[in-house]
């Protein structure tokens, strides 16, 4: 942390924290974003379905419905400003049995009240649009879309950073207390003073909230496991395909999601667990994912799977209570300028822009924020070479030999893109940092081919020692060192 005093400290660099940081960077105010991991988006923001929801599950008038609808209608614009992939695929909520059709009408009723565009369609429509999907009827949502959740989180952070927000990674908050008129935020890397604290700590938001005297909330971690299918399977479907939400399950049900990269995701499952950081996957759930996915899409087979992962929802009700709970975004009972965001789970990604606006308005009401005329709303991501038309590829390759070398052969990622990823403004230099920024290692060989090459680029172009090369976390060293008999 570069300074001692800030106007606003945001705790937690997930998609919500980084969206708030970006929103605040429109104003003349000193903002610090504190993140305990060595990159942004390391919790649920990296491991969700990447869906931009159209808002038909949250009850009318709820905060969740409001911020979700805001997000849905602004997402395309935001993604275009921040150079993040966005694709309006549309969604089918499919009734596989006759008796579920009534529930489709119920969803349509709620959704339309929220302002969503929704139609009930029959078997013919499903057959025509998604011939591999089986269902009796469906609710069609043309405005549902997909994005890249990790690229979006990174983009929010980078845009905030370029507009003056300080981002302090590897920084863990240990205590917050009131010191005269300010808050003292003690971290494992020193102490800062700030006028406002925004708690967007996700799975740890209850712990952070406790420092503000807020002890009504407890986070119940709820894990969702996913499968990623090979791009070869992408021809099987092109829209989001969801089941009718299972009753009281606390999730949307296992669905099929095309990704902007061209894979299909199966998931997520829904399982309350004891620990907020247990992102393991399990054989039982993975078996279930395949089984349930095949209910809609019988052509899915196990050998299409290239990866499994899991993410953890931060729920504020225990499993025995269940049902709908709204997002909690409020001032703490003791201090007005300590804002807690608790229970931000699905549709948290879609809602992030709306939540950011909502939080900034809360601050603006307490203390008029002054607009920063120099705010730059656009941010440029890494040039995705292989997606460019060939004339453009030739032009780039002409000037820069690093565009002539393909490092990741599954995703066709060039050496220049790896270098760009390692040169990111946040200073992240892990293998996963490269993966989330440039997509290398994300393909069917899972780094079998390109990992050794990326390591070489890290050593040759960035002078990194073998011992300091990490997969993701700070203790995730990849190698034991040089082999015997070297040098």
């Amino acid at each position: 942390m570069k300074k001692q005093n800030y106007d606003i400290a945001i705790i937690g660099g997930g998609v919500v924290g980084t969206a708030i940081a970006r929103e605040l960077s429109r104003y003349k105010t000193d903002v610090l974003l504190i993140e305990k991991e060595n990159d942004v988006g390391q919790g649920a923001s990296n491991s969700n379905s990447g869906v931009v929801h159209s808002g038909f599950t949250a009850p009318v008038g709820s905060l969740k419905a409001d911020v979700c609808m805001y997000g849905n209608s602004h997402f395309e614009e935001i993604c275009s400003e921040l150079d993040v992939p966005y694709e309006k695929t549309g969604k089918l909520v499919v009734a596989v049995e006759e008796k579920q059709i009534a529930e489709l009408y119920n969803l349509q009723y709620i959704g339309r009240k929220n302002g969503a565009e929704l139609y009930i369609v029959g078997e013919d429509f499903i057959e025509e649009k998604e011939p591999n999907i089986s269902g009796k009827a469906a609710m069609y949502s043309p405005n549902s879309a997909i994005t890249s959740p990790y690229e979006l989180t990174i983009a929010f952070a980078e845009n905030a950073h370029q507009n003056g927000v300080e981002i302090s990674l590897n920084t863990k908050v240990v205590e917050i207390s009131k010191k005269n008129s300010k808050f003292s935020v003690k971290t494992d890397r020193g102490e800062i003073l700030t006028d406002y604290v925004i708690n967007s700590a996700g799975l740890y938001s209850d712990e952070i909230a406790a420092f503000s005297g807020e002890d009504r909330y407890k986070i119940y971690p709820c894990r969702g496991e996913y499968y990623v299918l090979d791009k070869n399977a992408s021809g099987l479907m092109s829209r989001l395909v969801y089941p009718v939400p299972p009753e009281n399950a606390g999730g949307l049900g296992i669905h099929l999601t095309p990704t902007v990269e061209g894979n299909i995701l199966i998931g997520p499952s829904n399982e309350y667990i004891d620990s907020v950081d247990n992102e393991a996957t399990t054989k039982e759930v993975m078996d279930k994912l395949i089984k349930e996915a095949r209910d809609f899409l019988p052509k899915i087979t196990r050998d299409m799977v290239i990866r499994s992962y899991s993410g953890i929802r931060s729920k504020i009700v225990p499993p025995e209570v269940g049902g709908f709970t709204d997002f909690v975004i409020e001032k703490s009972p003791k201090y007005d300028n300590f804002i807690n965001l608790i229970g931000i789970e699905s549709p948290g990604l879609t809602s992030a822009p709306g939540i950011a606006k909502y939080v900034v308005e809360m601050i603006d009401e307490m203390e008029k924020l002054r607009e920063d005329k120099d705010f730059k709303k656009t941010r440029k991501g890494i040039t995705k070479f292989y997606e460019l038309p060939e004339e453009k590829q030739k032009e780039l390759a002409e000037d820069n030999p690093n565009y002539r070398e393909i490092v990741c052969r599954c995703e066709n990622i060039t050496k220049q893109e790896i270098i760009d990823a390692l040169n990111n403004p946040l200073g992240v230099q892990t293998l996963k940092g490269v993966k989330y920024r440039a997509r290398a290692t994300m393909g069917r060989c899972q780094g079998g081919y390109c990992m050794a090459r990326i390591i070489k680029i890290m050593q040759d172009e960035f002078d990194m020692d073998l011992e300091e090369i990490k997969l993701e976390g700070n203790n995730s060293n990849l190698f034991a060192g040089q082999a015997k008999g070297w040098g």
Binding site: V228, R302, R404, I406, G448, L466
Partner: protein, 414 residues
Amino acid sequence: MMKKELVIIGAGPAGLAAALAAYEDGIEDILIIEREERPGGILNQCIHDGFGLHKFKEVLTGPEYAHRYIDKVREKELEIMTNTIVTELTDEKELKAFNENDGILHIKAEAVILAMGSRERTAGGISLPGDRPSGIYTAGLAQNLMNLQNIQVGKKIVILGSGDIGLIMARRLTLEGADVKAVLEIMPYSNGLRRNINQCLVDYNIPLKLSQTVIDVKGEDRLESVTAAEVDESFNPIEGTEYEIECDTLILSVGLIPENELSKKANVQLDDTTGGAVVKDNLETNVDGIFSCGNVLHVHDLVDFVSDEAEKAGKAAAEYIKKGHKLNKDNIFVEAGSGIGYVIPQVISKEKDQIFSMRVRKPDNEKTIKIAADGKILHEENFEKVNPSEMIKIKVSSEKFKPLEKSTIKVVAE
């Protein structure tokens, strides 16, 4: 657009042998495209010996074996374009490639030989459960890091899968001072060559645990332990048999997958069992003028057989270029029957002697492999021992096919 008579994708053992065979049959306008900085393919990282016993009656290391071919290719001045990656291939035999000197290249070939080899099955591919820490490597990647870049991947090792690369790496890592705690194999038998089990595990007191697998992986950042368990006949873990092995590295040797992404782009028809192309007896695919050989066609046990197969593909491509049209009327389909995993080629003509390459489904003693059609046995051979890890080749004279009326022959092991 650059024009070439023959383009070979991959300068590994298959590509090199195919090029030389085509050259010997009169084709000089050959381009071999290789994505690595030097030819030799996977042999370059196979610094152990045991190669060449069939082909050269000598014991060679991987690089030595490769050099038998590389030296000849250089002597004949055949063009190898290294550091070049092919990203597109069409059924019109047009290729798009990238390299540092030329940038983007477009090449039109009269014939193409697919010799891209295979890739490794990954942790994701086998749905490895548990955490996803660092320290999990496929065996070939660990071998590449160790033998080509002198990088030690870890100190306390568990190996899952007893494929040959896993066995070789058990010895290699031991020689580098690592503690290889066990090799776990889900099957009741090893998928590796018998000689590798003896030379790489038995000689180094590394236990091979058959019918066991990894059911959990623990490690928040770096791998800390794996949980192993015995499995039943349907490969489900048996409750109560779990035990934890402390380790910082898990090496996966769980199979190779023919690398046919380019083949798919060219509409080459693939066989579900082999993962490689469906080929005729001259190793031509369903796409006119595109041939396939080596591990991209089916995963081989010995490189010597890759060379043999590639020579056949090279000769066939040469014949195709010279005649410029469809070579023969292949009309008999070959099927793998009971006890047989797969048979190559899948389509043959009656006019030629045939060599069938096949693998049995499970290890056994005293087996007869029968090749039958029209309710009659055309050929049979007895084997004292059969093993899925070892490819079986059976030669059948064309005389046997000539009287055939039916269009399908079946290969069974009884």
